[in-house]
């Protein structure tokens, strides 16, 4: 069964450093998302991406964040200058088309900012 994959599973970085989290969505999916979950809290929407542009973003997704689909299979989230409060699980999700609403999630990347 096709799955969303994410790398790395755990990333440790120093405050102020840039990180890139990588995702490979399910192959025939066209809509891509990033969510985050701070330990013990709700899953929160960050951004949605379709047709090579951002379609919606939350107030969390400020200028420190950016997304890219650099090729036909990868989808990345970049955090330019990490802060302690960026420590969280980051989940990538994807869905097939605009007809369905169901999003399928990857296993997540745990980001620890020291």
């Amino acid at each position: 069964e096709p799955e969303v994959t994410q790398t790395p599973s755990h990333q440790v970085t120093q405050m102020g450093q840039e990180v890139i989290l990588r995702c490979v969505p399910i192959s025939n999916h066209l809509y891509f998302y990033w969510y985050r979950q701070i330990l013990g809290q709700k899953v929160e929407f960050l951004v949605s991406f379709y047709n090579n542009e951002i379609s919606e973003k939350s107030e969390i997704f400020d200028d420190q964040f950016s997304v890219e689909r650099p090729d036909g299979s990868n989808f990345t989230l970049k955090i330019r200058s990490t802060k302690l409060e960026d420590s969280a699980m980051y989940f990538c999700a994807s869905k097939t088309s605009g007809v369905t609403d169901t999003q399928y999630f990857g296993p997540g990347t745990r980001l620890t900012v020291l």
Partner: protein, 111 residues
């Protein structure tokens, strides 16, 4: 403001003891409601999507129902492997794709 609440926060059941989890939502123009299962340290695993009041979906020991204000996830004769956090989430009709999650119900099924 759109809001999703879930109760109880945690639920402990004996194996075989059926129960229900509740999801209440306040959202303008609900387009869909989702149930996901999340194991510790893992991503949400899709269970159901519901669109209309009165709709029901079933999968193994789980059944999800939807009304105009809330949704229930019924667990019939649960097994220890059903232990997980169950997340309810909604999407608005005016949103492209922003899914709003509830805090989850942590279910423990004791053998």
């Amino acid at each position: 403001e759109d809001q999703v609440t879930q109760s109880p926060e945690a639920l402990r059941l004996q194996e075989g003891e059926s129960s229900s989890l509740n999801c209440s939502y306040t959202v303008s123009g609900l387009r869909g409601l989702f149930w996901y299962r999340q194991d510790p340290g893992k991503g949400p695993e899709f269970l159901f999507t519901l669109y209309s009041a009165g709709e029901e979906k079933e999968k193994e020991r789980l059944k999800a129902t939807l009304t105009k204000k809330e949704s229930f996830l019924h667990i019939t004769a649960p097994k220890p492997e059903d232990s997980a956090t169950y997340l309810c989430a909604v999407i608005r009709g005016t949103s492209y794709d922003k899914v709003i999650f509830g805090p989850g119900t942590s279910l423990s099924v004791i053998p």
